[in-house]
Symmetry: C2
Subunit: 235 residues, 2 copies
């Protein structure tokens, strides 16, 4: 990850756990994209794959934490290295929670496919794909910032989170209009509201991961701090 | 917290950080109850207090993490003690996220009070109070299990989470029926759907805290594991 450590073996262990987190991140990205696809197509097989991937992601989070604990106990790190190790653990936790949101979407597919009397099936006239594309792009950028330990790239993720929020608000307004026009569609559409919300939360996890990268590199805990307006040239 | 440590000074530090977590937990409990009250009464002043409390909870989480890191660096704990320290950090993180959900509810009050054309004001004919009461009770029980390091009490929290889920599902069905009967109420009711969801998630955080207690005491990581059915006599 960086070159300030004297111990080569420590570097190897650290790279190993970072590689594991990135592998976990790749799995979550795929899982999120698959969950949205399963929802749009009401594809139960794909939804089942998403749920299987969630179990794997959960296991990987536990593995990452076990490896980090093992490093801490054996290496007895100084404050700066400990900060790095704990931030990696938090990044893993955020990936796991993003995976949870994908699983929530997958469970909506099962619910939609269950026989019901009052709710027409999807699709409603809203497209979750754009919001999902923004969220997976944010996740990818945050993981890339982590892989390169690039705080500027991480800062970009923070400043772009409001695009997902705006897209969520737009989807919500369209869904409400749709429900008002056809009250029979309410029950089915509520599930889409939850799915849109899950995608927004995946964006929040990407933001948390980006905050973790900034914390690792700059030692500044930007959790719970407002972020300055972005440089307009970078938008 | 327990008596297996030889170092008295370490015990004092550990008790200090646990007390801080419990103080944080008490603040979050109050915050959740106030958020629901603010929502039911559409009380903007109370909602503002909830948002102020969220900032304090966020600060306390950072303080807890700083104290834990300082203990790890100075004490160089063995695996068992490290497990305890990291589990305490996760409990703090779950309290902070429960506080986030309370803040989400408080922001709904502001939104409901903003002038709007199409949405009738609350209250809709659903009462979030029962679900909120279940969630705050779960939070209190989980914190009590933490204070006493009582795994059986923690297990009770895990087995009772499905009561909140059932109450959430019931509220959702009633809100959908209400929206179908009066489509003008959809926009306002969606906010109640989100509030009910926030309360359900607070219950999830209580569950995560209880899992942390079991992990600390028994060394068993019950994250992501299905919990056995409860003893019927304890229900």
């Amino acid at each position: 990850v960086n070159d300030r450590h004297l111990s080569t073996q420590y570097d190897v262990e650290l790279s190993g756990v970072c590689a594991r987190v990135l592998e976990m991140g790749g799995l979550v990205e795929t899982q999120v994209a698959a969950a949205v696809r399963a929802l749009v197509r009401l594809d139960q097989d794909l939804a089942s794959e998403v749920l299987a991937a969630e179990r794997r992601v959960n296991e990987m989070e536990l593995e990452v934490d076990r490896e980090l604990s093992s490093i801490i106990v054996r290496r007895q790190p100084a404050a700066r290295d400990l900060r790095l190790l704990l931030a990696i653990s938090r990044i893993g936790a955020n990936l796991e929670r993003a995976g949870d949101e994908a699983a929530r979407m997958a469970r909506i597919v099962t619910r939609q496919l269950a026989p019901r009397s009052s709710a027409p099936a999807l699709p409603a006239p809203v497209d979750l794909g754009f919001e999902a594309g923004l969220a997976t792009a944010q996740l990818r950028k945050a993981l890339d910032a982590f892989a390169r330990m690039a705080p500027q790239a991480a800062l970009d993720v923070l400043t772009q989170d409001d695009r997902i929020d705006a897209e969520f608000e737009g989807l919500l307004r369209r869904l409400i209009t749709y429900m008002m026009e056809d009250p029979r569609a309410i029950s089915g559409s509520i599930d889409l509201v939850f799915a849109a919300k899950s995608i927004e939360r995946i964006g929040d996890h990407a933001k948390n991961i980006a905050e973790g990268v900034i914390y690792i590199v700059e030692g500044t805990d930007v959790r719970h701090r407002p972020i300055a307006a972005p440089d307009p040239r970078t938008r």
